[in-house]
């Protein structure tokens, strides 16, 4: 089923503006948050707090609707099991996130703004994503 492109672009733009204003495109701020034993930087707490303040409340109402406004049904993950892939994947992601201070959203916005570090990080991240697809398929 084709999902509405226009509304997806609006949501993407809002997400990108949010990331650009949040400060998370600066890896020093992210690593400052992760450096709990050093000069702790609380910026990420405000970003996640602001986002969750909206989603925790709004998602409850949205997910009670019979279907989304411009699509036939909600595509929400149905998996419940805490499996090895979830734990191992999250652990690997955390190591990469800590090493450079970038997670996927902020580094893509950085790439669009011409940040030089993103030129090295993003292609590697895309290759990593393809590798993961191959690994998961092989493990099934």
């Amino acid at each position: 089923m084709k999902s509405n492109w226009f509304t997806a672009a609006i949501a993407g733009a809002l997400f990108g503006i949010g990331l650009a204003l949040s400060g998370l495109t600066d890896p020093r701020i992210v690593q400052g948050f992760l450096d709990v034993s050093g000069a702790f930087d609380p910026t990420l707490v405000f970003v996640l707090g602001g986002a969750l303040g909206v989603t925790v409340i709004a998602f409850r109402f949205v997910l009670r609707l019979p279907k989304p406004l411009f699509d036939s049904d909600f595509r929400v993950p149905t998996a419940q099991r805490i499996d090895r892939n979830l734990i191992v994947g999250a652990a690997i992601f955390g190591i990469g996130w800590g090493l450079a201070g970038y997670c996927p959203g902020p580094v893509l916005v950085g790439l669009a703004a011409g940040r030089p570090e993103a030129l090295y990080f993003v292609p590697a991240m895309l290759v990593g994503g393809l590798l993961a697809q191959w690994l998961v398929k092989r493990g099934e």
């Binding site: 084709k2 999902s3 509405n4 492109w5 509304t7 997806a8 672009a9 949501a11 993407g12 809002l14 997400f15 990108g16 949010g18 990331l19 204003l21 400060g23 495109t25 890896p27 450096d35 910026t43 602001g50 969750l52 909206v54 989603t55 709004a58 998602f59 406004l69 929400v76 993950p77 998996a79 419940q80 805490i82 979830l86 734990i87 994947g89 999250a90 690997i92 955390g94 990469g96 800590g98 997670c103 996927p104 959203g105 893509l108 916005v109 790439l111 669009a112 703004a113 011409g114 940040r115 570090e117 590697a124 991240m125 895309l126 290759v127 990593g128 994503g129 993961a132 697809q133 998961v136």
Partner: protein, 140 residues
């Protein structure tokens, strides 16, 4: 906009974006999932992903360019960027989500899987920063 006001504003915008995408399109605003789906999802399920990412890159890149946050880091090892990018790509692919998919959206849905993922990647990220900065003694 800087500091906690930018962080909170950015966070709220990210939460609104995630709410819009769920309400209008019925999809989860997880950046790694949206990117990885470009190659793994059925062809009819790829257009909205491209539209979302186009909005994110254009609006986010433009705003980041205009707000001109702190100047980029200098002399951060390129090899570290590539390794970190690979790990982020592999980890989010295997673990099915990143800070936005598991953090903003998963926690917003009160998903136990996402809570576990967030705790795991926060822990390994903090441990990584601790080891790099306070055990190996790197300056950044």
């Amino acid at each position: 906009m800087s500091g906690w006001i930018g962080a909170l504003t950015g966070g709220v915008l990210i939460g609104l974006s995630a709410t819009l995408l769920l309400w209008l399109n019925g999809r989860i605003a997880g950046i790694s999932g949206i990117v990885n789906g470009l190659t793994s999802a059925p062809v009819t399920d790829r257009g909205w992903r491209l539209a979302f990412l186009a909005g994110l890159l254009l609006a986010g890149g433009l705003v980041l360019h205009v707000v001109a946050a702190a100047p980029p880091r200098e002399h951060f090892p390129r090899m570290t960027l590539v390794v970190a990018g690979l790990l982020v790509g592999i980890g989010t692919g295997i673990g099915n989500g990143c800070t936005s998919g598991h953090g903003v959206c998963g926690l917003g849905r009160l998903s136990l899987r996402s809570l576990i993922a967030v705790l795991v990647f926060m822990a390994t990220a903090m441990l990584t920063v601790f080891v790099v900065r306070h055990v190996l003694g790197a300056s950044q």
